[in-house]
């Protein structure tokens, strides 16, 4: 084979390789775009539904662009029981947040900073809660709550939701505190702080963003929970319980507007915690 022929062959091969690379790149980008629209498009259509007039919501065929008509949302807000349910959902979620962070933070700190007998047992208990369908525990609690007068109360419901959120709060906060060097605290002690002062002055400011993220996480767990809410509340329904229990009777506007209201905090939530999402699950692998 002549030099010229060899060069030509080589060039051909390189061109082919380049082509393959380009094809892969194209495939990769279109695959990514497809998966992005797979997630976004259904949400977009819900937004279109929720921001249309009642006529369009129940009409046919559907347009694929929103009218930005507030009729459906307004109808939803004025629908009997919706405002109360919305308020109840907020209250239960706030309770859940307070309880799970209030109880979980000290435990997370203990796991991060102390070696103690029973530490592994405690860790196991925490992990165990995730190996069970926790909402089911609302069933016996419904009976127990009647006996102690907590039935149909938002407080009772948030106790169950907090049981769901607490293990996450413990794991997230403990990984958070582990990420703060213990020497920072020791430096504070040597420089004149007691344990509490060092915690408040040094650990808290550094842990605050992460604590906020895990609080928001607890909020969303409660906000989204359907089963326990439906079982435990009757007159004081949360939004999810309300929507589930009136599925057959409520008009489409209520469903779509309700769905949008349910989803909005989720999207905001993920935006707030996106930085912590992975440390949250990274340690949960262990």
């Amino acid at each position: 084979m002549s030099q010229f022929e060899q060069d030509a062959l080589l060039e051909k091969e390189m061109l082919a390789a380049n082509k393959r690379k380009k094809a892969w790149r194209w495939l990769f980008i279109s695959g990514t775009a497809f998966m992005v629209s797979w997630i976004v498009f259904p949400i977009y259509l819900l937004v279109v539904s929720a921001l249309s007039s009642a006529e369009v919501v129940n009409g046919w065929p559907k347009a694929f662009v929103p009218e930005f008509d507030m009729e459906t949302m307004a109808f939803f807000m004025n629908y009997y029981g919706v405002l109360d349910a919305l308020k109840n959902s907020l209250i239960a979620a706030v309770f859940t947040m307070v309880i799970s962070i209030g109880l979980g933070t000290p435990a997370g700190y203990a796991l991060a900073r102390f070696e103690f007998r029973g530490k592994n047992t405690f860790r196991l208990l925490i992990l165990l809660t995730r190996a069970f369908p926790m909402p089911l525990l609302a069933l016996p609690l419904a009976v127990i709550f009647i006996n102690i007068g907590l039935d149909d109360t938002l407080f009772g419901l948030s106790l169950v939701h907090a049981a769901l959120a607490l293990p996450f709060a413990v794991l997230i906060t403990s990984s958070l505190f582990m990420g703060i060097p213990v020497e920072l605290e020791e430096a504070a002690w040597v420089l004149g702080c007691n344990r509490w002062q060092a915690f408040v002055k040094v650990v808290m400011p550094l842990a605050l963003p992460g604590l906020t993220a895990s609080a928001v996480f607890a909020f969303v767990i409660s906000w989204n929970e359907v089963f326990a809410a439906a079982v435990l509340t009757i007159n004081n329904q949360t939004l999810t319980a309300f929507l589930v229990q009136s599925l057959s009777s409520s008009p489409a506007e209520v469903k779509f507007a309700g769905g949008l209201i349910l989803i909005v905090p989720a999207i905001l939530f993920l935006f707030v915690v996106r930085k912590y999402l992975f440390s949250m699950w990274g340690i949960a692998n262990r």
Binding site: F28, T32, M35, I39, V40, P42, I43, L45, L46, S49, W60, P61, K62, G102, L103, G104, P106, A107, Y109, L111, F114, F116, K119, F122, I126, R130, P133, M134, P135, L137, L139, P140, V143, L159, V160, A162, L166, W223, N224, V226, V231, T240, V244, L247, A252, F256, G258, G259, L262, I263, P265, A266, F269, L270, R274, L277, W281, G282, N285, R286
Partner: protein
């Protein structure tokens, strides 16, 4: 105060809380399930649910749904994680969008897909506009169990792949790059690297992901009610109906025990099959 008592004081509130709202109801659900209406120990509640015409369909629906959805999601999540790990520009944005469903309840997911698949929904509108159908057509009715099942599968895959994605992406993040570089130097192509390096080292993450996801699949409930109504019973929905519609706490508890039993069996199964000795982990 002795510093040895600090940790116990700090974990005491959590322990008490979990005793009251996890351990105690956990025991109580068994007691309720195995207690007959006249207060004696017995299997009457299980008789009730086993003889109910909805029990077997709900059991098989739940299992089949899990068997179809979970493996599909696992493959998707691994694929998406690999895409994420190859991404440079826009990685954070794509990841953010892909994990949005993480914060969406199955109820909300059901509503989203209802808007799509409803008789008056977007799918029909689209099919109409391209001339495939002539008018609103109801897919999701009892004549069409396959369509209902398919709709639920889509909704579940849409909603709950994110949780697997997050766990697997963070698992991949724990694998040092040097392993891939070493494998590449020894001549392993991308496909071999996936099977010989990534997946084996990912086993702990896959285990966590599969346990969590399978349990969630057994808890599926609102999305089925929305898209299938009464045409497709599932275990959790039946538990809800017995508790809420028929006011029979014992039977509901029996359903809960069945779901718990399934969860435990599957958890143990994953723990055994995907077991990685501690020394062999990253």
């Amino acid at each position: 105060m002795n510093s040895k008592t600090y940790p116990y004081l700090l974990i005491a509130p959590s322990i008490l809380f979990l005793l009251a709202f996890f351990i105690y109801p956990f025991i109580e659900v068994f007691l309720q399930a195995f207690t007959t209406s006249d207060g004696e120990l017995g299997l009457a509640n299980f008789d009730t649910i086993f003889n109910d015409f909805n029990f077997l369909p709900s059991l098989s629906n739940t299992l089949i749904l899990a068997l179809v959805v979970v493996p599909t999601q696992l493959c998707m999540a691994v694929g998406m994680s690999l895409m994420i790990s190859k991404m440079k520009k826009g990685r954070d944005t794509v990841l953010y969008i892909w994990t949005i469903p993480l914060g969406i309840s199955d109820l909300a997911a059901g509503i989203v897909w209802l808007a799509l698949l409803d008789q008056n929904g977007f799918l029909n509108s689209f099919l109409f506009s391209v001339g495939i159908i002539d008018g609103p057509e109801s897919w999701l009715n009892y004549n069409n169990p396959v369509a209902i099942f398919a709709a639920i599968v889509f909704a579940e895959i849409w909603r709950a792949t994110a949780i697997l994605l997050v766990i697997i992406v963070s698992g991949i993040g724990l694998i040092p790059k040097e392993y891939y570089e070493a494998a590449e130097i020894f001549g392993a192509n991308a496909w071999v690297r996936l099977w010989k390096v990534t997946l084996p080292l990912l086993r702990p993450s896959l285990q966590t992901a599969l346990i969590l996801r399978t349990l969630l699949a057994f808890e599926v409930f609102a999305v089925v009610m929305l898209l299938g109504g009464t045409n497709m019973p599932v275990l959790m929905g039946e538990a809800f109906n017995w508790a809420f519609e028929y006011r029979d706490a014992g039977a509901a508890a029996a359903y809960a025990v069945v779901i718990l039993g399934l969860s435990i069996v599957f958890t143990l199964f994953y723990l055994k099959v995907l077991h990685v000795p501690k020394e062999a982990q990253v």
